[in-house]
Amino acid sequence: MNVSQVVFIILSVAALAGAAGVVLSRNLFKAALFLVLSLVGVAGFYVLLEAELLAMIQILVYVGAIAILIIFAIMLSQRLMSPEYDPRNEQWLGGLLVAIALFAALLFVLLRVDWPVSEASVPAEAISQLGQALVSPDYFLLPFEVASVLLLVALVGAVIIARER
């Protein structure tokens, strides 16, 4: 049980507690803050997996933009909620059973397959290689350009949909 494993356990407790808080919390604002906790935990995972650029991007995009967007949407759509407000809808039992069944199936598969793990280490110039891979036609240029078009379309669409009439 070395240091990385202890850190992993702490981070996974944070991420899973945040996730549980999101789905179980009555107060929507608290659910958003639990989501932020979960996202920061996941960013910690990325650092542990030696993908630091992605950890910074996760905090910058998810915590710095998406979580704030969610909080603004919560504040703009508030209405008086009665104290007996049950956050679960009519099909919550079915949802719970499906989630548990899926988790059991995934666990069954994950723990039995012998994954082809390799002991190689991350290349030193990882960031510049990532940049070149993202704009090189042999690798990821097409998904990169399509993602940027998708962002543009989503930007225009979101502005039009949420506009005051």
Binding site: G64, I68, I127
Partner: protein, 404 residues
């Protein structure tokens, strides 16, 4: 000779001596590293808090002198320990939580504001090598940007947790401003990263043969404006806009929590000063002094940061506050296209082939400087052509016409 060498490399020698002492006591290597890291964290925290103690009275004295008045001079030492007096005052005030406010959110917001401000100190370089920096992340500058993104979240929590609609409205406005100025900041940082070919803070300082302030003045100016806006300093401060929003999103905070917001603001200002000096003024370099006497590099960094902070105080003392819609329009309509064009210019300039590898920074620097000056001239021409003459208020026109 040996003593002089010891003094010139003072920080490295102290670090080695301390490690040797700990190893001599039988501490295993991981223990030595752990203790060294903890002591480093404590030193960085002290630097952060020292920023508050040094810069609070400096701000009030400098602004006061610029306004031709003495400034705070009741505390001993011509007002130098004003921050300590302020802290004692804040500690003795009652800590009020509004009745229907969420207690956890109300108490969480000052923490979430102060912690990121202190966290930036983990990646700031105080000297060459890997000893005088908290942790030389290879994504250091992106870490700084991510921390500013967390600050936005803290503002919303502060505004919501006060259960006060004016506080919430002010938080909306501040978040609007912060999000608008984050984009030109990231774009101008990208230009620096393109020239330095690395994201790590230490790498950016070491690759700066010419300080980037000379190479790309437009980028430095854009970054300074955006950093001012991100740190909520005048002329873009909406918290202390007493005439507009009472006291902004910190209305309902009193006592030590209120002090936390201001500690966070000053620590943020100091961190912004150091980040600006790292990116654009050459960091711990000073025309070769750092090679002769590496002991002086933290002092060089401190003075460069103090110069940038003096610039910020100067802006606060002289510029009037900008109206909010002008502010946000300036960011979206002017700074974002300008920084995008700057980025494109930088990307083109950096790819110009130069035969001699030693002359690469100088040639690229000269071409980028020319490109920046051309950009300024073209922008001025476009703005002059498209500016509208604004008609004065009718009363003013009558007065002006009557005087003729």
């Amino acid at each position: 000779m040996d003593v002089i060498n010891f003094i010139l490399n003072l920080w490295v020698e102290i670090g080695d001596w301390f490690g040797g002492v700990l190893a001599g006591w039988g501490v295993p290597p991981w223990g030595v590293n752990l203790i060294a890291d903890i002591i480093g964290v404590l030193i960085l925290l002290v630097f952060g808090i020292m920023a508050v103690i040094v810069f609070t009275p400096m701000e009030r004295k400098v602004i006061a002198r610029m306004q031709d008045r003495p400034g705070p001079n009741r505390t001993p030492g011509y007002g130098a320990i004003q921050a300590v007096a302020d802290a004692i005052k804040m500690l003795t005030k009652e800590d009020v939580i509004p009745r229907n406010a969420d207690k956890i959110l109300h108490m969480l917001a000052p923490l979430l504001v102060a912690i990121p401000a202190l966290l930036i100190f983990a990646v700031l370089p105080w000297g060459p090598g890997s000893g005088l920096i908290g942790q030389d992340l290879n994504v250091g500058i992106l870490f700084v940007v991510a921390i500013s993104a967390i600050h936005v979240l803290a503002v919303i929590i502060a505004g919501w947790g006060s259960n006060n609609k004016y506080s919430l409205l002010s938080a909306f406005r501040v978040v609007n401003q912060l999000l608008a100025y984050e984009i030109p900041m990231v774009l101008s940082i990208l230009v620096v990263v393109i020239f330095a070919e690395t994201l790590s803070m230490q790498g950016i300082v070491e690759n700066q043969v010419i300080p980037y302030f000379v190479v790309m003045p437009v980028t430095a100016l854009i970054f300074l404006i955006c950093a001012l806006a991100e740190a909520n300093r005048s002329p873009v401060d909406l918290i202390e806009a007493d005439s507009e929003m009472v006291a902004g999103y910190i209305i309902e905070y009193s006592g030590m929590k209120f002090a936390m917001f201001f500690i966070a603001e000053y620590v943020n200002m100091f961190a912004v000063g150091i980040v600006f000096s790292t990116l654009f003024l050459g960091g711990w370099k000073f025309f070769g002094l750092e090679n002769l006497a590496p002991v002086l590099t933290p002092i060089i960094v401190f003075f460069k940061a103090a110069f940038v902070i003096f610039l910020m105080l100067w802006f606060r003392a002289t510029f009037p506050r900008i109206r909010f819609d002008h502010l946000v329009g300036f960011a979206w309509k002017f700074l974002v296209p300008l920084s995008l064009i700057n980025l494109m210019l930088g990307a083109v300039v950096v790819k110009i082939p130069v035969d001699d590898p030693m002359m690469v920074p100088w040639v690229h620097g000269a071409i980028m400087l020319v490109a920046n000056i051309a950009l300024v001239i073209v922008t001025m021409i476009i703005l002059n052509r498209t500016a509208k003459r604004v008609e004065g208020a009718p009363a003013l026109k009558r007065i002006v016409a009557a005087e003729r």
